[in-house]
Symmetry: C2
Subunit: 346 residues, 2 copies
DNA sequence: TTCAAGCATTGGATCGTTCCAATGTTTGAC
DNA sequence: GTCAAACATTGGAACGATCCAATGCTTGAA
């Protein structure tokens, strides 16, 4: 078959002896066209293989059919799941996702933002790179595209969506307290990560509510990787009294801690209780399976998309701060403390 | 600040007393404009916060600035890495990625294809859902957008990019043979997966080249998940002579097999040699660290993007079939066989 | 027969940009 | 001083759709 010209509304109209306007009405499902006309038009569209040009339509109608999504790193399973959720919700209403990633670089984030904005998306979902300035983001994005900030706070007034880090860590800590633990560590993560700070606060709040105090030596910092966590495991036991359980910054850290404990002859889930955070797929498969906080990143992604779409329909919506609920998944890495110090466990 | 009108080229032109055409030339970096004029224009653009409308430009210039990417499932780390590579290469030349996912559903794939095509991308990178028909894909995509098929073959004439499954399995098998193994199983995967078939052929070829035969009972099928693989581990040893090593369909299967062996009292890396495929991050962290085939999905993604861009620049390019090289990563899950049957290992 | 109301369709202007042929303005060679 | 070549800029048409006000058609009621 010959490489024919690109087909337009005009071609369909001419072939049928109708006007462009009528074809346009058919394409948009208007009730104004006669049923018979609609059928003829649709048949002709099929026959010649006409393809709608959404960019031209959006130009004239000043509408948009895409949403930008900027994440730090797609190879992080949390972001990948989140992106899948965003795309799922957008596709369901006929929108497409414009992808961008920053690799945690503020400069790349600015470049990606300016590039995305030129495609006139209905909105942008942004997980800011560490160290982002709200003012710089506002400048690159221009005044007309709504932005939903996600995962990490950004200075300025933005729609914000995040998981409930505070409550997650609170639930994890509470679970350990209910098992009888009194000396509970917070393991992994860094002070300059906002999500880590929030989790640490939830942990501290749960301890305080139970009348317990968080000893400073029970706070062990470690880069959020399995290897680093395994290396730091020993730091939990350098001073007495040593903790009998740990709330971990995330699952990667928790799995690393499990390895580190095994290497030191301790048995996680028997001698020492561990709670993770995120419920990554490996959490259910480790030895022992990890008790953790499920964050449902895919659902978070769906919510983000819905929020942007809602704002597009009604730009006067109030700026909102939404936290996504989390839940405790109890598996076998948590156990009562080895001795109970005369504590009456019911 | 008041929500002002959307700014256009005309606003910039009017403010400076120039014509639209001149501003357009500046925006496109044309050498025709005087240096001084260019500077004035750029200053004004900054000042009023003008944002380029790429859709309008593409409409007039009949050009494109996006590439569609359709994957089965972003939450699969292989696709996530691949997508990251595609996006990285596209962003480097100012293109954006239009994301779509099929969830392995042929119907959703058709819907996503038609939706993407309406945005007039320069091309589409497609990992076909299992069971896709080439003709249906061609119909949904129309005649004008080049498609690069990736990861799984599709009937018809397409640019095709895949990793070298055959050679990867060949390298894995060869490595085991070099260690002294003579009874080598192929573990995991299903016959109706094309990638599994290719790997199986590479395995068989390596055995044949070494003058060995693949006993049918050394082919154990299992769904490509850790849990299923662990469950099937015992199947390797039901008949004599049992294998002393296994090439696994992928790393997930290999890690599951490790667990299954441990549960049966065997020590992977000491009693039994295991090779994986993919080099997922966990492969380096398992016990023992997994010998595997690295496939560099990010590089594959970059190549896919470059290929589409090349075809866009020169549509007359020949249809090509490109396989991405793979490499063997030796870690500690492979060892010589426990007894050597009088074989003289050098 | 007339007229209003509803239905189905239409031409022309328009969205924000680029293309193109034309026009003015320098510059330098002879 | 003239002329061609190079430089810099320009207005109007065009890309493929939608918007909008206008226009024929049918009806059926008065």
């Amino acid at each position: 078959m010959p490489q024919q010209q690109k087909l337009t509304l005009n071609d369909v109209a001419r072939n049928l002896g109708l006007s462009r306007a009528t074809i346009s009405l058919v394409l948009r499902g208007s009730p104004l066209v006669k049923t018979e006309t609609r059928a003829r038009v649709e048949a002709e569209i099929q026959r010649i293989g006409y393809i709608y040009n959404r960019a031209a339509a959006n130009l004239r109608a000043r509408s948009a059919s895409s949403v930008g999504l900027i994440v730090n790193d797609l190879s992080n399973p949390f972001f990948a799941e989140f992106a899948a959720g965003v795309d799922e919700a957008l596709a369901a209403v006929g929108f497409v996702t414009l992808l961008g990633s920053t690799g945690e670089s503020v400069e790349r984030q600015q470049a990606v933002l300016s590039s995305l904005v030129e495609h006139a998306p209905a909105g942008i979902i942004l997980s800011p790179a560490e160290g982002s300035q709200g003012s710089a983001v506002a400048r690159a994005a221009g005044a007309h595209v709504p932005i939903l900030v996600f995962n990490r706070a950004l200075d300025g007034d933005w729609d914000f969506l995040a998981m409930d880090n505070h409550r997650g860590a609170y639930l994890a800590t509470e679970h350990l307290i209910a098992l009888g633990h009194r000396r509970i560590a917070f393991f992994g993560g860094h002070r300059d990560s906002s999500s880590c700070r929030e989790r640490l606060e939830g942990y501290a709040a749960a301890l305080a509510d139970a009348g317990l105090t968080a000893e400073p030596q029970w706070r062990i910092e470690a880069a959020p990787t399995r290897v680093e966590a395994a290396r730091q495991a020993g730091a939990l036991f350098v001073r007495d009294p040593a903790p009998t359980a740990a709330v971990c910054y995330n699952d990667a850290v928790a799995l690393g801690l499990q390895l580190g404990l095994v290497a030191r002859g301790r048995r996680p889930g028997i001698d020492f209780a561990i709670v993770g955070f995120d419920d990554i797929p490996e959490a259910a498969l480790s030895m022992p399976p990890l008790t953790t906080i499920a964050t449902a990143p895919r659902g978070l992604g769906r919510h983000a998309a819905e929020r942007i779409l809602a704002r597009m329909r009604d730009p006067s919506l109030e700026i909102a701060l939404h936290t996504e609920p989390v839940s405790l998944i109890v598996r076998e890495s948590t156990c009562p403390p080895p001795e109970t110090y005369g504590h009456t466990a019911k």
